[in-house]
């Protein structure tokens, strides 16, 4: 292999990144579903032909996908080799959403397209998009009480949805007859496929310009260098062992907390993440598949070191011991709908909590760490139509060495905006009575946690069922270095003026509501950073004056 100068290498790296960013842009702009178009719940990347290793990934992708797609692509390559998936042809696109084949939950649907040069597969282009529905017991797929993956929706092994560029109408018909609001999905399918076409065109241009051999060499060299960069960064961490525990309220079925026990061992240029001792697989949907567990570790590390480009090389120094026998390595048919939205955030919290003392200037106290998923489904007698509404909400971020945590930040694994109250009231038969800072919710500390959100809404017409998949209802986001924990998540359902609190605090499915009933949610505040007695009195007085504490 010839060597390549670092300047050309830098330019090719930027070029590969650009290909992925253009795929991201194309996907979002053309996507139909607001989840993809506005919330950017999607990701696009380039993966190695031999083993699916991540070469480059779009900067605007949803953070939780930071590591998953390389496992998905790797599994596909292995299945093709084993003859358990059909052999590829040029212009084919595989569709797959099986969580156990390198995925997250069923709603994250992956497309993979072989990229050919001179008749051979040079690499794979792949993307993931969160579909609003893939069938299953509840609209949207987040069933808090599912006990097997079949209840969560349609599960697709890798099959060629596009064969030599043509959409297979038979496979598509099977998909459409198993999912809700199927008539709008064609818009997302076309957008997701078109993004891979854009990637193909741009990658061909890059290869034509620099030459296949040069780019191939550059990809290998970039991987080596990303690895070296990550090693040098993690060497800021002193050698030794760092431990933490993070808790999930319950799995939604059995009302007992689930523990994530993490031991990180630092040796020169290397971190080992050992989750041994974490809870066993659970009945309800709070299991995590291996790909999501790995991805959660990577995204936590990227929050700590945002400057490292996303690539397989950067993950190399981060060794995650496969947590066999725990709920972080779920096997078929364990239900997994909570893994991408909730378990992933708790894994990230465990990483933050373990490393905050070693890297106090980089790591924050724990953020709210829940997607705050409240779904309301019912029938609106005014429009004569059924509806499903989602209110995703933010919470306080952790205090840190520089500042108090920000209020109402989005989930650790997402970057999406919450919908405006006015849009919700336009589209659904609800009336909000309050959408406010949750006073006193930030964990005390030298720098306190950010405030959570306090909202309350009323069903105006008809009947509906409320479902909650949230977390941190039992244990608040952890404070750090002597800071206090943030306030816990609280859900109250008011029916005929009588308060009901879900048995699992943050999770329950199908609570019947009728017109006039209300739901109030108070989301977690962030953990405090440092001791409260060290807080600048000026900041404390300001908090007092503005009613934040």
């Amino acid at each position: 292999m010839s060597s390549i100068d670092p300047i050309t290498l830098s330019v090719i790296q930027a070029g590969l990144q650009q290909v992925c960013d253009e795929m991201d842009l194309s996907f979002s702009r053309a996507a139909f579903s607001p989840v993809i178009a506005e919330a950017n719940d999607r990701s696009d990347g380039i993966y190695a032909a031999e083993d699916g290793a991540l070469i480059a990934q779009g900067a605007g992708g949803l953070p939780v996908f930071v590591g998953t797609m390389q496992y998905s692509t790797r599994t596909l390559i292995e299945m093709i080799a084993a003859g358990t998936a059909a052999a590829p042809q040029p212009d084919d696109i595989y569709i797959v959403n099986d969580p156990y084949l390198g995925g997250t939950h069923l709603m994250d649907v992956r497309f993979a397209r072989p990229f050919y040069r001179n008749g051979e597969i040079f690499c794979w282009l792949s993307n993931t998009g969160h579909w609003p529905d893939t069938g299953g017991a509840v609209p949207g797929g987040f069933s808090a009480s599912a006990t097997s993956v079949e209840q969560e929706g349609l599960r697709l092994p890798p099959v060629r949805l596009f064969k030599q560029g043509v959409l297979d109408p038979e496979i598509y018909a099977i998909i459409c007859s198993n999912i809700r609001v199927a008539d709008q999905r064609i818009g997302d399918v076309k957008a997701q496929a078109a993004a891979l076409m854009v990637g193909e065109e741009r990658l061909n241009a890059l290869l034509d310009r620099y030459g296949d051999d040069v780019v191939r060499t550059a990809i290998a060299e970039l991987r080596t260098r990303a690895e070296a960069q990550m090693r040098s960064l993690i060497d800021e961490i002193a050698e030794g062992e760092y431990t933490s525990t993070a808790w999930i309220d319950s799995d939604g079925v059995v009302n007992e907390p689930l523990a994530i026990r993490l031991k990180i061992t630092k040796t020169p240029g290397h971190l080992t993440f050992d989750f041994a001792g974490s809870s066993p697989p659970c009945m309800g949907p709070m299991n995590s598949v291996l790909a999501t567990t790995l991805s959660s570790v990577y995204l936590a590390m990227r929050h700590i070191f945002p400057q490292v480009p996303i690539s397989a090389g950067a993950f190399e120094p981060l060794e995650v011991i496969r947590p066999v026998g725990t709920f972080l390595d779920a096997q078929y048919p364990r239900p997994v709908s909570g893994c991408a939205a909730e378990v992933s955030q708790r894994i990230a919290e465990a990483v933050f909590a373990a490393l905050v003392e070693a890297l106090p200037h980089r790591v924050t106290a724990a953020p709210a760490g829940t997607s705050g998923n409240f779904a309301l489904g019912g029938h609106d007698p005014m429009t004569g139509r059924d509806f499903v509404m989602y209110q995703l909400s933010g919470g306080g971020y952790g205090g840190n060495a520089d500042h108090d945590g920000i209020a109402n930040g989005c989930s650790t694994i997402g970057i999406s905006k919450a919908p405006p109250v006015e849009i919700m009231e336009q589209n659904f038969p609800v009336l909000y009575h309050r959408y406010a800072l949750r006073e006193g919710s930030g964990g005390a500390g030298r720098h306190r946690g950010g405030l959570g959100l306090d909202y309350e809404l009323e069903l105006r017409r008809g009947d509906a069922r409320a479902s909650f998949v949230m977390d941190h209802g039992r244990f608040g986001p952890q404070g750090a270095l002597g800071g206090a924990d943030g306030a816990v998540n609280e859900v109250e359902v008011w029916r005929d003026g009588v308060k009901y609190i879900p048995e699992h605090l943050s999770k329950e499915q199908d609570i019947a509501l009728k017109a006039g009933d209300r739901v109030r949610v108070k989301t977690p505040g962030g953990g405090g950073f440092g001791k409260a007695e060290d807080r600048d009195p000026v900041l404390s007085a300001e908090d007092e004056r503005l009613g934040r504490t």
Binding site: R29, Q229, H433
Partner: protein, 685 residues
């Protein structure tokens, strides 16, 4: 309205971050003057007066002064705002602080956010509309009066009244404003629905809050400027640039002060469009590279794009129509470094204006894009030597060799070339993203290069982008001021309809356009400025049912049929996304109308004095400039001396007062109308 064929003498004066630029054009006498003075941050009027003095303008003879000011932009970004109170719907006072639950960066859990109005000045009153505009809770007028008195007692100078769903029914906001005006005679009362009648309470609320909290500052500033100018003999009105690229009277501008935010970048794009139309180049990608950042916009058919969804910084949406200018990061001050992976990075860290690049001689020690240009001979080294206490070329070379060359295995020049190559690759990528996000292939456009550093990088960027040619206007360094001088009067209106196309009552839509048009014409009449004609532009923001994003669909007239709306929408959607969705129904979200009072043309050919031009191109000297790893003996020309029909092949450097244009080997430059230069990529023989 009066009608006239000439504008008389007109002055455009633009206050930028570093310099205040002025251009005076008198089409009647065929004269033009320019001036450039340092911006005076505390009171921008001093810099404006200094520029007028430098241009030796007799204000008594001036027909019109059009002013671009950063007063409001700076106030917002630095949160140096007037003390402003908010009165809002009970339960919702924190909307301005909660935002849309985001974070400043995708990766990294830190960050800060300061709301425009602090929590203790955000008060609530009982009242409520539903999404259809029905009153659910009547306005509690007693509580309202109490809240107003509390804000007066708190020392507030301006007031925002922002109620949920006021876009659907503004009755409560209007009544509250009426009461406020009784209790508190105050010119600075903003109601949420008056600036944009559009749903989304955070965006509408921030827009209103920005408006109120910059009104007093802008009003005082323009009043003082008017007085100063009047004292020097000026008898006309001062017009102020808005972010939509149009101008309004300084006596009316404060009412909708939020519209002046980001007006600087907008006027540059307006000048580009004007120049392009005259030069027969209606499709332009504008590229304005300054010291700290680069602004990019896409002009189609001679018309700058307008967006109502601009975010001026993290969680700071100002949803009034503004020229869609995107900031793409790198500027001359962007710092180059070799990272832990041994790879070269340029930006996002910047040396800013202070200390600035090493070559500024103000204490900067880290290599930047400007330093690389200097080291490669692309900038005039005389300037380097002129800096007091400045650094020499040897120092610069030593720093490049040490900081970048050693880890990259090249010498100082190699390192500098790598910095430029990397910077161009990144900027080209960012420009592509802007272009693609607007549904355009950059290869279908010409690059319009301006700003201090734009023409230095433009040819290389064009090559990178596959853009065939670059237009460098006569005065790249004063483009924003020129945008003021060529501006038209402009008023934009947005009305939410939010209805599926199939259910739409067309008379409602036609009536909405008619109201907007009447309101715009009335606004033009109030301004008392001579116009040669009035133009209206109608468009609809549309989407497919089930989508959340919209596309803007231009319409020919104010009375489109349902078929026209559907066909135009499908065509625009296809152009933008290359997706055809006959299966799905469309929805009209908003209707928009722009009413433009067209002013008399300005003769841009005056920008370079024909008398100064020479019969043939003669270099003023030669410099050694590095291209592709080897030094080239490169002729240097003075732009004002070049014959207007000049043709030169690169390498060549063309200098003028505040700007350097680089013609790399292989490219050809030719002279065009209005003193423009056109660089043809790869056309050298």
């Amino acid at each position: 309205m009066e009608h006239s064929e000439t504008r008389g003498s007109i002055i455009g004066v633009d206050v930028g971050g570093t310099f205040t630029d002025l251009v005076m054009v008198d089409s009647a006498s065929g004269t033009m003057r320019i001036a450039k003075t340092p911006t005076t941050l505390d009171n921008q009027a001093f810099g404006v007066l200094a520029a007028l003095e430098q241009a030796e303008v007799d204000l008594a003879d001036v027909g019109l002064i059009v002013h671009g000011t950063t007063t409001t932009t700076n106030a917002v970004l630095e949160r140096k705002l007037s003390r402003t109170g908010l009165i809002t719907t009970a339960g919702f006072r924190d909307v301005l602080e909660l935002g849309r639950r985001t974070r400043p960066q995708a990766y990294g859990m830190k960050g800060q956010f300061t709301p425009i109005i602090p929590r203790d000045l955000r008060l609530e009153v009982p009242e409520r509309m539903d999404a259809q505009g029905n009153v659910l809770t009547p306005l509690d007028e007693g509580a309202l009066r109490a809240a107003i008195k509390q804000l007066i007692a708190e020392g507030c100078e301006a007031l925002v009244i922002h109620f949920l769903h006021a876009y659907a029914n503004p009755a409560h906001e209007l009544r509250a404003a009426e009461i406020a005006a009784e209790v508190w005679p105050n010119a600075y009362i903003t109601t949420g629905h008056s600036l944009l009648s559009e749903s989304r309470e955070f965006e509408r609320g921030v827009t209103a809050a920005v408006n109120a909290s910059v009104q007093p500052l802008l009003e005082r500033y323009v009043a003082r400027l008017r007085d100063e100018l009047a004292a020097k003999g000026y008898r006309g009105d001062v017009l102020v640039m808005n972010g939509n690229g149009g101008m309004v009277s300084s006596k009316l501008v404060a009412r909708e002060a939020a519209k002046t935010v980001m007006s600087g970048p907008a006027s540059g794009v307006m000048a580009a469009a004007y120049t392009g139309r005259r030069a027969g180049e209606p499709n332009l990608l504008t590229y304005d590279m300054g010291g700290t950042s680069t602004d990019v916009a896409l002009i189609r058919d001679g018309t700058p794009p307008v967006s109502n969804e601009i975010e001026v910084e993290y969680a700071m949406p100002i949803h009034v129509p503004m020229v869609d200018v995107r900031t793409v990061g790198a500027g001359g001050g962007s710092i180059a470094r070799v990272n832990a992976a041994g790879l070269l990075e340029v930006g996002p860290e910047s040396a800013g204006a202070d200390p600035g690049p090493i070559c500024y001689g103000k204490g900067g020690t880290r290599p930047t894009i400007s330093d690389a240009n200097m080291l490669l001979g692309r900038l005039n080294t005389d300037k380097l030597n002129a800096v007091a206490g400045g650094v020499g070329m040897d120092d610069l070379a030593a720093i490049f060799a040490r900081e970048l060359g050693a880890p990259l295995g090249v010498d100082a020049h190699g390192a500098a070339e790598a910095v430029i190559r990397m910077a161009n690759a990144k900027m080209a990528g960012a420009i592509r993203m802007v272009s693609l996000s607007l549904g355009a292939d950059p290869r279908d456009f010409a690059l319009f290069a301006f700003g201090g550093a734009g023409p230095l990088h433009a040819a290389a960027l064009a090559r990178e982008l596959g853009v065939p040619r670059v237009l460098v206007p006569a005065r790249p360094g004063i483009t924003n001021a020129l945008g003021c001088a060529v501006a038209d009067l402009r008023h934009d209106f947005v009305q939410t309809l939010n209805q599926p196309l199939d259910d739409l009552d067309l008379t409602t839509l036609h009536a909405a356009f008619a109201d907007q048009l009447a309101e715009g014409q009335a606004a033009l009449a109030r301004e008392n400025v001579t116009v040669t004609g009035v133009e209206h532009h109608f468009s609809a923001n549309m989407q497919f049912l089930g989508q959340s994003h919209v596309v803007r669909v231009p319409l020919e007239d104010a009375t489109p049929s349902a078929e026209t709306l559907r066909d135009r929408f499908n065509a625009v959607y296809w152009q933008r996304f290359k997706v055809d969705l006959p299966e799905i129904r469309a929805r009209i979200v908003n209707v928009n109308c722009s009413v433009i009072g067209v002013c008399a043309p300005v003769d841009l050919s005056l920008l370079i004095d024909a008398g100064g031009r020479q019969a043939s191109a003669t270099p003023t000297g030669h410099r050694t400039v590095h291209f592709d790893g080897s030094p080239h003996d490169t002729p240097v020309y003075w732009r004002d001396h070049l014959p207007s029909d000049v043709t030169l092949d690169g390498p060549a450097i063309i200098e003028q007062l505040d700007c350097t244009t680089l013609i790399p080997p292989g490219d050809r430059v030719t002279g065009g109308v209005d003193g423009n230069l056109m660089i043809h990529i790869g056309a050298a023989t």
